[in-house]
C-alpha cells in the first residue's frame, strides 16, 4: 500500500473528530475548516513520521490541536501563546473572551443543548480541549496527554477542574 492509500485509510476517517475538536476550540466555522485543512496538509507531508503500527488518531488530532492553538494565539494577537499555561490563557480570555454562538443557530437549539454548549464555551481553551477529547471523543488519558502534549497527571487535574466548573454552571442553570 502506498503512503497515499495509507493516509487515506487512516486519516480521512478522522476528519469528523478533527473538525469537532477544531470547531470547539476556535471561534467560527471558517477558522475551524482552515485549521483542519492546514493540519491535513501537514499530516500528509509528514506522514512518514507516523510509525506503521502507531495509532493515527492521537497523532493526527495532535496536529489539528496544534493548528488550532496557533490560530487562537494569532487571533489573540500573540504569536507566543501556544505553549502558555492555563493562567496565561485565563488572562487572555479575560481580555477577549470566546464569543457567543450566532443567534440564528442558538434559536433552533433545545434548552439543554444551549446551556451545555454555553458551559463548555465558558471553559478556557486548555480545559475545553481535555473535556471535548474525553467526553465527546471518548479518548483515554494517555491519548489526550499525547494530543495536548502534557503529562497524564495534568490531563487528570485539568479534567477535574473543568468538570467542577461545568457542574457548578449547569447546576446553577437548573440542569439536569
Amino acid at each position: 500500500m502506498t503512503d497515499r492509500h495509507r493516509f487515506e485509510a487512516s486519516v480521512l476517517p478522522l476528519l469528523d473528530a478533527a473538525h469537532n475538536l477544531a470547531r470547539w476550540l476556535l471561534r467560527d466555522a471558517a477558522a475551524a475548516e482552515d485549521a483542519v485543512q492546514e493540519a491535513a496538509l501537514r499530516a500528509f507531508r509528514y506522514f512518514a513520521s507516523l510509525r506503521p503500527n502507531e495509532d493515527a488518531r492521537p497523532w493526527f488530532l495532535g496536529i489539528v490541536r496544534n493548528a488550532c492553538f496557533t490560530a487562537l494565539a494569532r487571533e489573540r494577537g500573540r504569536a507566543d501563546v501556544t505553549l502558555l499555561d492555563e493562567d496565561a490563557w485565563d488572562h487572555l480570555e479575560a481580555q477577549s473572551p470566546s464569543p457567543a454562538p450566532d443567534p440564528l443557530t442558538a434559536l433552533g437549539m433545545r434548552r439543554e443543548q444551549r446551556l451545555v454548549d454555553a458551559a463548555l464555551r465558558a471553559l478556557s481553551p486548555p480545559m475545553r480541549e481535555v473535556i471535548v477529547l474525553r467526553e465527546l471523543e471518548g479518548l483515554d488519558y494517555r491519548d489526550i496527554a499525547q494530543i495536548a502534549g502534557i503529562p497524564i497527571g495534568t490531563v487528570m487535574s485539568r479534567l477535574s477542574r473543568a468538570r467542577a466548573q461545568l457542574k457548578r454552571q449547569l447546576s446553577l442553570a437548573g440542569l439536569p
Binding site: L12, L15, A18, W24, V36, M109, D117, L120, I131, L136
Partner: protein
C-alpha cells in the same frame, strides 16, 4: 451532580460538529495536488539515477550510454504503445487529463479567455485549433454550472479545447476534441478525481473534477441535454 451525571449531560446535549462534504472534498483536493507535486520530483531523479547506473554498467563513453538509453527508451515506448491499449481502452489518457487538470489548478491558467458568455469564448478558439468546439453557457448555468472561460492545452500532443466551469467551489474542466465514435457517458475515477466521458458522434468529451461523481454525471447530462436542443 456527580461525574457520571455530567458525562451524560455532555454526551447527550453538547453540539457535535462533524466534517461536511465540502471540507472532505477540499482535503482530498489538497492531498491530490500535494501528491502530484511530490510525484513530479522523484520521477526526474529516478531517471537520472537510472542513466547513471547505465553509464556505470557500460563503462564506456557516456554518449554510448545515452544511445543505449535512447534505444531502450524507443523499445519501451513501442512496448507501451502495444500493451497499453490492451490494458485499458483509454491507455494513459485519464492519467494525462487529471495531470493537466491539476496543473491548470495549481499553476494556471485555468482559462486564457475569461467569460461566462459563449459568444466570447467560442470565437476565441478560432485560429488556435483546427476544429470549433461547442461552448454552452445559459442552460448549464440554470443547473448550477457556471462557465468561467476556456483555454487551449496539449492533450496527447495535440492542442485541445478546454472549457472551465464552476459548481459551488469546485472547478470542472471539460476537454473536447473531434471523434467520430458515439458513446454513452461513462464514469471513471482516477487519483481521487472523477472523470465522465462521452461522445456525441462528432466530438469526444471528457469532464474532470474533484466534485463528487453523481454531480459530475449531472453536469454531463445537463450538457448533453443542452447540446441536443
Amino acid at each position: 451532580m456527580n461525574d457520571d451525571d455530567l458525562s451524560r449531560l455532555l454526551q447527550q446535549h453538547a453540539s457535535r460538529h462533524p466534517a461536511d462534504e465540502r471540507l472532505r472534498a477540499a482535503v482530498r483536493t489538497q492531498m491530490t495536488l500535494q501528491a502530484a507535486a511530490q510525484e513530479a520530483r522523484p520521477k526526474a531523479s529516478a531517471w537520472t539515477a537510472w542513466r547513471e547506473r547505465l553509464a556505470q554498467m557500460t563503462r564506456i563513453h557516456p554518449a554510448l550510454a545515452g544511445a543505449g538509453g535512447l534505444a531502450l527508451g524507443v523499445a519501451l515506448t513501442l512496448l507501451a504503445l502495444l500493451v497499453a491499449p490492451r490494458l485499458s481502452p483509454d491507455g494513459t489518457l485519464p492519467d494525462e487529463l487529471v495531470a493537466a487538470h491539476v496543473r491548470a489548478l495549481q499553476v494556471g491558467p485555468l482559462y486564457e479567455v475569461a467569460s461566462s458568455d459563449r459568444h466570447q469564448v467560442k470565437p476565441w478558439f478560432q485560429g488556435r485549433l483546427d476544429y470549433a468546439p461547442t461552448v454552452l453557457d445559459g442552460p448549464l448555468r440554470e443547473q448550477g454550472f457556471a462557465l468561467l472561460g476556456g483555454r487551449v492545452q496539449a492533450v496527447r500532443g495535440q492542442p485541445t479545447a478546454v472549457l472551465a466551469y464552476q459548481v459551488r467551489l469546485h472547478k470542472i474542466d471539460l476537454y473536447t476534441w473531434p471523434s467520430e465514435h458515439g458513446a454513452a457517458p461513462e464514469k471513471l475515477q482516477h487519483r481521487g478525481f472523477n472523470l465522465v466521458r462521452w461522445s456525441d458522434g462528432a466530438m469526444q468529451y471528457w469532464a474532470v473534477s474533484d466534485v463528487d461523481g453523481a454531480e459530475l454525471e449531472r453536469f454531463a447530462a445537463a450538457w448533453r441535454a443542452a447540446a441536443a436542443r
